[in-house]
């Protein structure tokens, strides 16, 4: 292993600009003559827009335009789309209501975009936005999913009866019912998976620009997938054809899923830029982010696990209600269906599984993918059921898991997925050792004598990522293929530019991808640049989410590098008067087999462009290749996290005493970066389990619309993490990579809740387990203890 090659913890190339304040985020982009957009947003969760009077606002100083739904409709700008078709169990298509970029007669959640004011300065636009008079006829809002599906509930979209988008199912109902009929023990749980706000530290922003001379648009935007944004804004929304729309996602300050989607604001900015003849900039404030970014999770689930007389899992059935919010966001329909139910087998042999999912509209912000997207919800169901089943049958939770682990691969689950490789017990054993599991009894006793309650919780998670084989997702309803592209441009002096359709917004691609190239081509890592995030530079790509950049994005680079190597061998062959079949490439050197004749990579690159040693008829000059990689299977990262907590029963404060994570991500390019991904994922998972919750009141007002009320985990809420790894290479891609971006967020919540329930001696601990909640439950435990 070289110091900068695969497997080395290379310090990040991108960091220099970030630590010196030279990053270029969207809000840092300033175009000459730029104007500012401020949106007029609905203060009501459900209302008819009777009239918009912008007379006063238009006359205010610095106001360039006030644009409404009428204007956008007149320009035939289409609505936002949901790109994944889900069919209900009766075969009917999902009921997708329209999602205009500026309201057309009705608003459906607080923050819904009604009009936009464009001003010379932000302050002027903001002042004028307050003076846009909107007359609303307020309708009853429906916030609660159970209330939304009741007959007679207010209808949010006319197309969706009972506010139901779909009643979807997966699995064999008859086989599952049969398993339950024969079961010796059934564990039942009612679970709420709490609604979260992604809260990347950089809020969303957009700068739209129009060049009349070439009739072309440029959109700078905070996107995880600028090409998908261009495709949707062109092909579906119709702002401009693709070749006249350049989308640039420069440095992006975190996404966690929330910046995958195509939102109204960026559409409006790019459309309005032509309308007002000026670049238009919009940057969300944090409250707008809370109100209008797609939220995550928000499931209500009843789940049951069937066991036979030997404590083996024989069946699982699940009924989930998934809150999709007021509109279907870009990929929202897929999250509680195909990204959720296919993971319900967990790491276990469960021969029969049946899941029903109802997708429901409410007068709340749209809900879509947030770090893990469906898989944290599935893992929470499985790992809570497994833990409780073990406790109910008086079995050690470790032994219970071991007994039911899948041990031979490939393994076909009853819910689509074919697990390709893994060694679940290896991760478990390693985690137990690292967590000093065997001495937990002593530590519990020590806590008890200090008046504290100690608990330990395990989570053995699996996820499907490396998203995803195009044919597979196509057959499940996706509107796009989920391949990735790469282009390798070798310059005449042997430096290399890699153009990738992946997008880095914190993941460190500029380093990891360069390590791969440096390793493969035997050139210094400083001679490699990674280019991403600009549709004018990178032809096409699908972006970064679903832990796919390593497994899919880098595989595309490998494929393009294969082509570069093959071409370079031909060039070297001409130069050294040998057949390309006789050229070996190793450590940056092309050698004629069995001779001492060799050329280094830079010389071959130069010869490829000089082309003196061959004619165009023999071989095309140049050294540039591209490739598209379409995976053949999902990848299946898996692992075990163990959390140990100590609770102060007097206040209900949960202190996380230790956190152990052992993950199998397959091959790892940069362990430092991978561990960083694990840390961040765990922190978000702890946030979900311990403190984060998006709360709406009964009228649909978001109570937690700032960091004053929505609890973001801080440094002093969190422990240091003890991170280890096991490795079974992924067989379905050339690098053996499984992906690591979401694992922590998937693994963490059940580990933490299993620890708290262990400490409290009750299974009924909702997320987030706030001090108040834990205190109430701890009182019961203390009183029970006293009574004994």
């Amino acid at each position: 292993m070289s110091a900068t090659g695969i497997g080395a913890s290379v310090r990040r190339k991108e960091d220099l600009r970030f630590i010196t304040g030279r990053g270029q985020y969207t809000d840092d982009v300033n175009r000459a003559g730029q104007s500012y957009a401020v949106f007029v947003r609905s203060p009501h969760a459900h209302a008819v827009v009777l009239k918009i009077d912008a007379t006063t606002a238009r006359a205010m100083p610095g106001v360039l335009a006030v644009l409404t739904g009428e204007d956008i409709a007149a320009d035939k700008i289409g609505g936002l789309i949901c790109g994944w078709m889900i069919h209900s169990k009766d075969g009917s298509a999902m009921k997708a209501g329209g999602h205009p970029a500026l309201a057309q007669g009705k608003v459906r959640y607080v923050g819904d975009h009604v009009a936009v004011v464009i001003g010379e300065t932000f302050a002027q636009a903001r002042d004028a936005a307050e003076k846009v008079q909107v007359d609303y006829e307020v309708l009853t809002a429906v916030v609660d999913m159970n209330a939304a599906v009741k007959p007679g509930a207010p209808v949010i979209h006319d197309v969706a009866e009972n506010n139901t988008v779909y009643n979807w199912h997966l699995g064999d109902k008859a086989a599952t019912d049969a398993a339950f009929a024969k079961a010796k023990h059934v564990t039942k749980l009612d679970i709420v998976n709490n609604r979260l706000v992604p809260n990347a530290m950089e809020t969303r922003a957009a700068v739209g620009d129009y060049e009349p001379g070439t009739e072309s648009f440029t959109l700078y935007t905070t996107s995880q997938n600028p090409h998908v944004a261009r495709l949707v804004i062109s092909a579906f929304i119709g702002v401009a054809p693709e070749h006249k729309l350049r989308v640039i996602a420069p440095d992006v300050g975190g996404g966690f899923g929330s910046k995958i989607f195509i939102y109204a604001e960026e559409v409006v900015c790019v459309w309005a830029a032509k309308k007002v003849g000026r670049p238009v900039k919009w940057t969300a404030d944090r409250t707008e982010a809370f109100l209008c970014d797609a939220h995550g999770r928000d499931h209500i689930t009843h789940a049951e696990l069937a066991l036979d007389e030997n404590g083996r899992t024989t069946g699982l059935r699940v009924h989930t209600k998934a809150n999709l919010g007021a509109y279907l966001s870009t990929f929202s329909s897929s999250v509680p269906t195909y990204l959720y139910a296919p993971l319900l087998s967990g790491q276990y042999n469960i021969p029969a599984i049946y899941a029903e999912v109802d997708g429901i509209y409410t007068n709340t912000a749209p809900v879509d993918a947030y770090r893990g997207a469906g898989r944290p919800e599935a893992t929470f169901v499985v790992e809570r059921l497994i833990e409780v089943a073990a406790r109910e049958t008086h079995t050690d939770p470790v032994k219970f898991r071991q007994k039911n682990f899948i041990t031979s691969f490939p393994h076909q689950t009853p819910v689509i997925m074919a697990y390709d490789a893994g060694n679940y017990d290896a991760s478990l054993q390693k985690a137990l050792a690292m967590a000093d599991y065997k001495n937990i009894g002593k530590r519990k006793a020590a806590s008890e004598s200090a008046g504290k309650l100690r608990g330990i919780g395990i989570s053995a998670y699996i996820e499907a990522c490396g998203i995803a084989p195009s044919a597979a997702v196509g057959s499940l309803g996706a509107g796009v293929g989920l391949w990735e592209s790469a282009e390798v441009r070798v310059n005449p002096i042997g430096t290399v530019e890699i153009l990738t359709g992946s997008h880095s917004h914190g993941q460190g691609h500029e380093t990891t991808f360069a390590q791969l190239v440096s390793d493969r081509l035997g050139i210094p890592i400083d001679n490699v640049s990674i280019v991403h995030g600009d549709t004018d530079k990178v032809q096409m790509g699908m972006g970064t989410y679903g832990s796919r950049s390593g497994a899919v994005g880098m595989s595309a680079i490998v494929k393009a590098l294969d082509k570069v190597e093959a071409k370079a061998k031909k060039v070297a062959g001409f130069c050294m008067e040998a057949s390309d079949k006789d050229i070996e490439f190793k450590d940056g050197k092309f050698t004629v087999k069995g001779t001492d004749k060799s050329m280094d990579f830079g010389s071959v690159a130069l010869q490829a462009y000089i082309a003196h040693k061959f004619s165009g008829q023999d071989l095309e000059p140049g050294l540039k290749e591209s490739a598209f990689w379409d995976p053949t299977n999902f990848t299946f990262p898996a692992g075990v996290h163990i959390c140990e907590v100590e609770i102060d029963p007097e206040t209900g404060v949960t202190h996380i005493d230790r956190w152990t994570a052992v993950d199998d991500f397959g091959m790892v390019i940069n362990p430092m970066i991978v561990e960083g991904q694990v840390h961040g994922g765990i922190a978000q998972g702890i946030g979900q389990a311990l403190c984060e919750a998006a709360v709406y009141d009964s009228k649909g007002q978001l109570i937690t619309a700032s960091f004053m009320d929505y609890c973001m985990p801080r440094a002093d809420d969190l422990p240091s993490y003890n991170v280890g790894m096991t490795q079974t290479p992924c067989p379905s891609n050339p690098l053996g990579i499984k992906g690591c971006g979401e694992a922590g967020a998937i693994a963490a919540p059940p580990a933490l809740i299993n620890a708290i329930t262990d400490a409290l001696g009750t299974e009924n601990v909702p997320m987030p387990a706030t001090p108040q909640t834990v205190w109430r439950l701890a009182q019961k435990k203390v009183m029970k203890h006293a009574a004994q």
Partner: protein, 267 residues
Amino acid sequence: MYAFNYNRAETARKAVNLAGKLEDAKFLAGGQTLLPTMKQRLASPGGLIDLSAAADLKGIEMKGRNLVIGAMTRHVDVATSELVKEKIPALADLAGMIGDPAVRNRGTIGGSVANDDPAADYPAACLALNATIITNKRKIPADEFFTGLFETALEDGELIVKISFPLPNKAAYEKFRNPASRYAIVGVFVAKKGKDVRVAVTGAGANGVFRASNFEAALTAKFHVKALEGISAKAEGLNSDIHADAAYRAHLIGVMARRAVAKANAK
């Protein structure tokens, strides 16, 4: 923010004069509450009178048997002052618990007391230590100063100049933070001076900071944690929100009071 006129006052006297002349002007102390409120357009003063250059409003000194702190003294200066740490360590302790380090570098004692946020820390200290709030016009005992949510006895244009704290024999502050905002869900300041024991509670009361008389009575009998056994706060009149309902707050008042007494006795 809405537009406003900005004015700078180099002395307390100039500040008061400006306040008399300007219509609808507010004093700007550290701005750590006022500016976020203005940014959210929840406050729209026509003018601001910036006190940050008024040197005569800053400083910490002993005057007779009282510790006197200038209104524009920043939290960080109270928290790290050797004089405060020697004379009323609980007050330094409290100042070090406000907000975060960057907020403490700007926020001031006068601003906090004048704003009287129901979850702010200083009002509890003022009340429990029986402080006197000294304005450009008069001296107001803390018991008469805090009159409700964000409401004080201050009149229009009246400026807090300094706050005078009698030295307690024993005192301590304990705070249970809102996990999101880090403001007090419940903060309890206990102070014993001679026979007089005062217990002030912030964060919990629906009407702002208040004294817990049953705790005071019990601790007057004996200033010890054991004296609080069986003493509890009533949930009526306490705040309820998504983080803590009234019953939980009532319970926390007991816990924080006991911890504060233990801390005060440990010193």
